[in-house]
Symmetry: C2
Subunit: 246 residues, 2 copies
DNA sequence: GAGTGGTCTAGACCACCAA
DNA sequence: TGGTGGTCTAGACCACTCA
């Protein structure tokens, strides 16, 4: 599959974008695994019959999207949720004082159900498709902090169990990656403030109607395919959600 | 001031980073104004005695930081908060149904006070420095939605009045830019859920202890100098805060 | 058609890393 | 020392905009 340098416009696509697509296809096909190095820029340039600079620009963009990671002198690597420090990449909740903390994870509910309405739509599933539904309590340094409600399609995650979630100590994305070869690339979050209802206040050990930060998240794998819906209810008296605007 | 191509390392700095600094200095000095075009890449390459590709890389990064804006065929422009569509660049709150809405702005309080404790620290001011303090109510499509508490140093904003804030219909950053030549480049936000107290519930017209999304924001101008502290309390039954994670 | 940003090349050389 | 990513160049050509 050789990229074509199509000139004199009608529907012009830069070469480096075509390279980007080819690289992404290799990633999806599993040619290179998470944490591994991909071939050097020179090798890829030779393979695709383009200059090193063009490969470089393609990799630059994939690196900006956190799909690849450059390491000077060592190579370019496939991003993973498995490494220390990169774990919990999507967790924006930090303590007011910036302390490091112990994270624990307790399953509250685990069941197989059918996708309905909004959630089916957000996961791009037909209503009635089988889904796995889990509720868990996250504990920060011994204190209950987040009540998570997670829904994933049963098909791609065939064979998942409550135990598998427990084992990785709450790092779901790491588990998805190693157990199901599903890599989450990006996520969209919607935040609001809500009042704790009876069930939630009991589980989190807080008064009824306490204010909670509600974080609804849809995570996407390659090709912008939604693969997980999640609703986190967070106690935010000692913690807050950090965000940088540019 | 010619950039030096320093080779054989000790404390190596890429040429394009030096160019980036020079461009930023020109922006601070007011050589080019918001909304205006900067010189072409060729011109800048000639001025700085480097190749076009090197200037390009410097501009690329400034464009990624939303400090410059590229427009193919037209030129590269200094970013501004004044344009339609770019206005409210930092407002992440959107309606659940994505409707366009009318925004109104009503001043509740406007006074000159002294910076204290945490706020002085976050604005990088000595305790006791004069600051302007404003509270205002933002109304979306006729419904009270956000109660803003804003604090800015009095010095750089000498001559500010409640009227000036009202006039621009709530677009503070646009006003800062045109009236005080202060351009906000980026901001950090910390979100939590809180319960409405007596004053807040009265002003927003909601029951006492209703859950509110609290958005604390510090905005920075060139050189990472903090210039505004803001606390927004938002009703989030019909709206939510959107965020994209990569 | 002239001017601007955008793409692509081929090649040189540098900084960083590991063996 | 050799391989990798990172920088820089000089030049060609393309796509887009506007007069």
């Amino acid at each position: 599959m050789t990229p074509t340098k199509q000139h004199t416009s009608p529907s012009f696509r830069p070469l480096y974008e075509q390279i980007k697509v080819l690289l992404t296809q290799s990633l999806i096909a599993g040619e290179w695994h998470p944490g591994e190095a991909i071939p050097s820029e020179h090798e890829l340039a030779a393979r695709f019959k383009v200059s090193q600079g063009t490969v470089r620009k393609a990799i630059d963009e994939l690196a900006a999207e956190n799909i690849l990671i450059r390491r000077q002198g060592k190579g370019t690597f496939v991003a993973t949720h498995n490494e220390e420090g990169i774990k919990l990449r999507f967790l924006r909740l930090t303590a007011a004082d910036g302390q490091k903390e112990l994270l624990e994870n307790q399953m509250v509910d685990f069941s197989k159900t059918k996708a309905q309405g909004d959630i089916a739509r957000m996961l791009d599933l037909k209503a009635g498709t089988s889904v796995i539904e889990a509720k868990r309590l996250l504990t920060f340094s011994g204190r209950p902090m987040i009540l998570d409600h997670i829904i994933i399609p049963a098909g791609p995650f065939k064979g998942i169990t409550a135990t598998k979630i427990q084992e990785k100590n709450g790092s779901m994305y790491s588990m998805y990656e190693t157990e199901f070869k599903i890599r989450m690339i990006r996520a969209e979050e919607r935040l609001k403030a809500v009042a704790a209802d009876e069930e939630v206040s009991r589980l989190l050990g807080i008064p009824l109607h306490s204010p909670l930060l509600s974080i609804e998240r849809v995570s996407y794998t390659y090709g912008d395919v939604p693969m997980e819906w999640r609703l986190g209810l967070c106690i935010t008296d000692t913690h807050h959600y950090m965000n940088e605007l540019e």
